[in-house]
Symmetry: C2
Subunit: 126 residues, 2 copies
């Protein structure tokens, strides 16, 4: 026996957002990846710390996650006079995966905007 | 002595995204909040599980976080014949904070889109 259609059908997994890669989605890492995308030539550890407002410890921890996921490349540039400088760059794979992530994020924003309109509309009619 | 301006100035905290509230930003909770915003009258535990593709344990854990943050209201509706049904609704405060979160998310998407264009532009000139 067929069931009567509900007011709104429940579409399984409609809001599961599988494409939001966890390694990128975390708030601090999202900032790190976005700033690195603006500088394909790389950013120094100090610049990244400043741009993303992170402590040394936090930045190191998040760079470990990004690096293990193959999203960034962390390299010590041996400067003259024994000074070294850590330079972080997004990898080619990181660039591709970031673009996929952003596509999914745009879908979330569209869903959220639609949801907000629904909420406002239904509240005003009750 | 004034320093020469860099190629691009480093703007402190530019990519810190302070407004991305952690209670909402986590991927599963973002799905839960978005689906609840589309149904101001509430969703049952079973419907939420389905829409967000979560296990009972995971959904319970995330609802605890959202509820403790004041974003959702979880209530057992005592039905007739001893059957009870858990209904989850977004709170008024939750609605406001979700809208603020989405505003910030739109800024992230705009930054990311700009960053992607920069990356593509710079790569094509090297």
């Amino acid at each position: 026996m067929a069931k009567a259609p509900a007011d709104r059908a429940i579409e399984a997994g409609r809001y599961a957002y599988e494409g939001l890669e966890r390694a990128i989605h975390e708030k601090a890492r999202l900032g790190i990846m976005t700033s690195l995308m603006t500088r394909p030539e790389g950013l120094s550890f100090t610049e990244l710390k400043e741009l993303c407002d992170l402590t040394d410890g936090n930045l190191n921890r998040h760079l470990d996650v990004l690096s293990e996921a193959g999203l960034v490349d962390v390299r010590k540039d041996q400067g003259r006079e024994r000074r070294s400088r850590t330079v972080v760059k997004v990898t080619a794979q990181g660039r591709t995966r970031f673009l996929e992530y952003v596509n999914q994020l745009e879908r979330v924003v569209a869903d959220a905007a639609e949801a907000s309109r629904t909420a406002a509309g239904r509240l005003s009619t009750t």
